[in-house]
Amino acid sequence: MTGALELEDPLRWDRAVPPSAVVIFGANGDLTKRKLLPALYRLAYERRLPAGFAVVGISRTAMSDDQFREKMRESVQRFLEDSPFDADLWRDFALGLHYVSGDIADDGLYKAIAAKLGEVESQRGTAGNALFYLSIQPSQYEETVEGLGRAGLNVSRNGDGWRRIIIEKPFGHDRASAKELNSRVQRVFDERSVYRIDHYLGKETVQNILAFRFGNGIFEPLWNRRYVNHVQITAAESIGVEGRGAYYQEAGALRDMIQNHLLQVMGTISMEPPVAYESDEVRDERAKLLRSIHVMKPDEVLTHAVKGQYGPAKIGGADVPGFRQEPGVAPEAQTDTYAAVRLTVDNWRWAGVPFYIRTGKRMPKRVTDIAIQFNHAPLAVFGAETGKQWPNLLVLRIQPEEGISLRFYSKLPGAGMKLRPVTMDFNYGTSFGTRTPTAYETLLLDALVGDATLYTRQDMVEASWEVVQPVLDVWSETKFDLPNYAAGTWGPAASDEMLAGQGHVWRVP
């Protein structure tokens, strides 16, 4: 008997990557150096890549294969996280690194890529499989995709290999441009070959939300409007725009964080259980949830959304510039460095439950978490003894200390029935001391094996633009009195007032 079924051992190792080439546009850029090559090297170190594997770097800068290899070696050694650098392994890995220089607007570049792919296919046995990674300016996406299409690179030479494409966010600048981008990409690659990367979804702790919700039986019965009072999603950064002032000025917090990362997180928190942990099933449920979010009318925007921008402050004896004082930022910029929205979901599970989402730069600390606040106990038996009410709170911490904590009441030791809130903590890092893969390792691996579960789909992107578009429209037509919060604080007063109007208060994460 031939035991084809006995080859795989999912208890001890994960899916195998088929022979393939990764073609990176923007190979001389920061993302390639800091994230992509270290992630690919780490996958090789973990024995996840087959012998028939190659990387083809594309960029304008003229470079030989050897110069590209040397540059990548320096980057991998510098940016490899929690991993040793193995010189022997690198030597063989580097043999699969190739480079093609050229201009994205020039059809000659795509012919050169086709020739190089043919070469690596015969040398490295990549079997015609290629994954294109667009790590370039978003304004170049359409041009590049169309260039690939004109050169016939969207299909393999013999037609038996696969061709896929990864596109980095932002997927459009607004609803209309997102639809236009999707439409032009899909003229060249069918939707199943398009992988829109949102690195938040590749984080272990975001995936752990699914494990927590759908791997346990005791939480799901509470996960609805009957028991949940409201949900707060916070993504705060302590740093400013760090030299990205010119880009950030055009993007803003709502586009940069809420439209993509945080709405995907909200989708993961509130979606219905999928019938299976399969790409289409999970994404169908997430998309359905995103489509169920109530789209604000223009007159609701002022009461359901808050725009903020940080001003200068002195923090710990150091002068911190305001956003308008950052290099490359216009002195009258109306950019949102803080955005908060109150969203509701129009379905049976969540009707009437507010989902508050806030994100900002120059906040007191870097933290991303999701807090689910439950209703008070129906009868305050210990009313006078407990002081301020502290309803049960379940916090799913995404960074920096991944974990889960539950707040509940406990009796204070001693006479009398005095209650105090306490927390029960699960710390991801101390319970599982193993190294967790970076989001890019997870997502690159998924794309190479053809698993799109953690990638966003066209309908999800468009649904999330539907949610933020009314806010963008109203904000673009309104002149705000900015800055309205000092660096090192938790945002503008208007944000607190938005919650106070509902009888709620922002947590201090």
Partner: protein, 312 residues
């Protein structure tokens, strides 16, 4: 009460230890536990190395470790300790409990009741016997019956002894894990990966060095037999012991694919004309135990290979 060793007294000692740590550590300590690990060792085993292995496992599988030393003690004795470490970049220490029990072979039947009292409630129990022959001692069978998984390492046994121990062990209700099987995971993974990538199967062979046939090679042959459907020859390349860090398996050949260990950290993968290196640092017992502790369900692959080993 057993020969002066009382589970309740040991637990009180541990509680007192936690109280003292709570007072002395300003940042507080995190008491971590996800299972009970019963580690059984014999008189001839390296106590320090075994202790380091167990401490190393705690980082990923925090547990209450009960070390049972079957040695020449006059009577059953016990002591408790709390092991702590500071995770990198953290301010809070993580601590686990360890209880050491020394028992003479003649007093071993007094030990299971103590172990029962010391097991952490409602969490899995794992048993590890560095010397597999200890796992089949009659006195320890009541302990094994409460275990979710029993792990042994047959690497140091010859094939016949290993088969005898494994035959007895697999008759119990617990899952069996063998570190000799975990030792070949990376070889199997690489072979599977290349076959999936289109590598043509064909004649196969496993080679090794050193005297006697290593169980890892036996397992690898049995697994390959399942893949290609015919028995796989095992050949000794060199009866001299392997150089430090090289391990005993030297190569695996399957059709156009050859994996060959070329250095203590490296295996060279040759598939037709394509060549690549892959990182294969020799694994320590702690690494292998970690892998086995990650498998707490029915291990169909191992069972199939073990069946072939028994039949062969």
């Amino acid at each position: 009460m057993t020969g002066g060793v009382d589970a309740e007294r040991l637990l009180r000692e541990l509680d007192e230890g936690w109280r003292q740590m709570g007072k002395s550590e300003g940042g507080g300590v995190l008491r971590a536990c996800s299972m009970t690990m019963v580690a059984v060792s014999g008189a001839g085993e390296d106590v320090q190395a075994a202790g380091e292995t167990l401490a190393s496992i705690m980082h990923e599988h925090p547990n209450r470790t009960i070390v049972l030393r079957v040695d020449g003690s006059a009577a059953v004795e016990a002591r408790t300790t709390i092991l702590c470490w500071m995770p990198f970049g953290k301010r809070q220490q993580v601590c686990c409990e360890q209880i050491e029990i020394a028992a003479p072979r003649t007093g071993l039947n007094e030990v299971p009741p103590v172990l029962f009292g010391l097991m952490v409630a409602d969490l899995p129990v794992a048993v590890w016997c560095g010397d597999p022959r200890l796992s089949v001692l009659e006195e320890l069978q009541p302990v094994l019956r409460l275990a979710s998984k029993v792990m042994v390492d047959t690497s140091k046994l010859d094939r016949a002894d290993a088969a005898a121990v494994l035959a007895k062990l697999r008759s119990g209700p617990w899952l069996v894990g063998d570190l000799a099987w975990a030792r070949i995971t990376r070889w199997r993974q690489r072979v599977a990966q290349e076959i999936e990538a289109g590598c043509r199967k064909g004649d196969s062979e496993v080679t090794f060095t050193g005297e006697g046939m290593p169980m890892a090679a036996v397992y690898l042959g049995a697994w390959l037999e399942g893949v290609i459907g015919v028995p796989v020859p095992l050949r000794c390349e060199d009866p001299a012991p392997p150089a430090p860090g090289m391990g005993r398996i030297r190569s695996v050949r399957l059709g156009e694919l050859t994996l060959r260990r070329t250095a203590p950290t490296t295996v060279c993968v040759q598939r037709g004309e394509v060549r690549a290196s892959t990182a294969f640092p020799l694994l320590r017992d702690a690494d292998l135990l970690r892998e086995e502790l990650g498998v707490f369900g029915r291990d169909a692959q191992y069972e199939a290979a073990l069946r072939r080993v028994m039949e062969g």
